[in-house]
């Protein structure tokens, strides 16, 4: 049991989870991606890797906001291994 929990923790720490919504989710055909975490990852570096893997998302980048673990972040903010990064097109609720 304990080793099982250890394994899942190890796997989680190696990856960054990407969440996609609305127009981005439709363009990518998925709401969730997993990326391998790289040392020194930032919002910008993670976003760039997502766009490299899914070039159809490039057109959204100019207006995109990003949240790291549910908090709005800027390009230079760090993305630690295990973080959840949400790519947020301009919001239109209400």
């Amino acid at each position: 049991m304990a080793s099982g929990a250890g394994w899942s923790l190890t796997i989680r720490r190696m990856t960054v989870t990407i969440l996609l919504f609305a127009s981005l989710a439709e363009a990518a055909g998925t709401r969730r991606l997993e990326l391998a975490a790289e040392p020194g990852d930032t919002v910008a570096s993670v976003r760039d890797r997502v766009v490299s893997a899914h070039p159809q998302l490039a057109r959204f980048v100019p207006t995109l906001m990003v949240a790291v673990d549910e908090v709005y972040a800027t390009d230079d903010d760090p993305v630690p291994p295990g973080a959840t990064v949400a790519l947020i097109p301009p919001v239109s609720g209400g």
């Binding site: 969440l19 919504f21 609305a22 127009s23 989710a25 439709e26 207006t63 949240a67 549910e70 949400a86 947020i88 097109p89 301009p90 919001v91 239109s92 609720g93 209400g94």
Partner: protein
């Protein structure tokens, strides 16, 4: 201090009960409702997507900011997701305050802030197509022409 993102119809009475308190002299209720037209097009229905956990976090932050800024006593913010028909409520905000002035001011500020900050998106579905709307609509004034969006 109740916030919720839900795919169920919004319950106005629940949102009023949530903010009632003996020291309140006013309870303000705002409903955002699905309209049958936008920018000259006939809208068939809307579909709302959300990042629910972050949306609730941001709603709570804005509610707490409204308490500090306007001195209101309590707030409830509900946002609905999924497919909504014309006339259904997508956003419900209730605010209690000692006197009416704070609740009106806070309500206006809170709804505008929700539309700018909370990660929720609407898709307009027309007879002949559909489109995700990007960015809050013009706030409380006449709709901007499509070329300005």
């Amino acid at each position: 201090m109740l916030v919720r993102v839900t795919d169920l119809p919004l319950d106005v009475n629940e949102a009023i009960s949530a903010v009632e308190t003996p020291s309140a002299g006013a309870v303000n209720v705002f409903l955002g409702v699905v309209r049958d037209n936008n920018l000259g097009r006939r809208v068939g229905h809307l579909v709302y997507d959300a990042y629910p956990s972050m949306a609730e976090r941001v709603m709570r932050e804005l509610g707490e900011e409204a308490i500090e800024k306007f001195g209101i006593l309590d707030y409830a913010i509900f946002h609905r997701t999924g497919k909504l028909a014309i006339g259904e409520a997508s956003l419900l905000v209730t605010i209690s305050s000692g006197h009416r002035g704070e609740s009106f001011e806070a309500g206006h500020w809170l709804v505008n802030s929700i539309k700018k900050r909370v990660p929720v998106w609407k898709k307009e579905v027309w007879e002949d197509g559909e489109e995700w709307i990007e960015g809050p609509e013009s706030l409380g004034i006449q709709q901007a022409p499509a070329s300005m969006r």
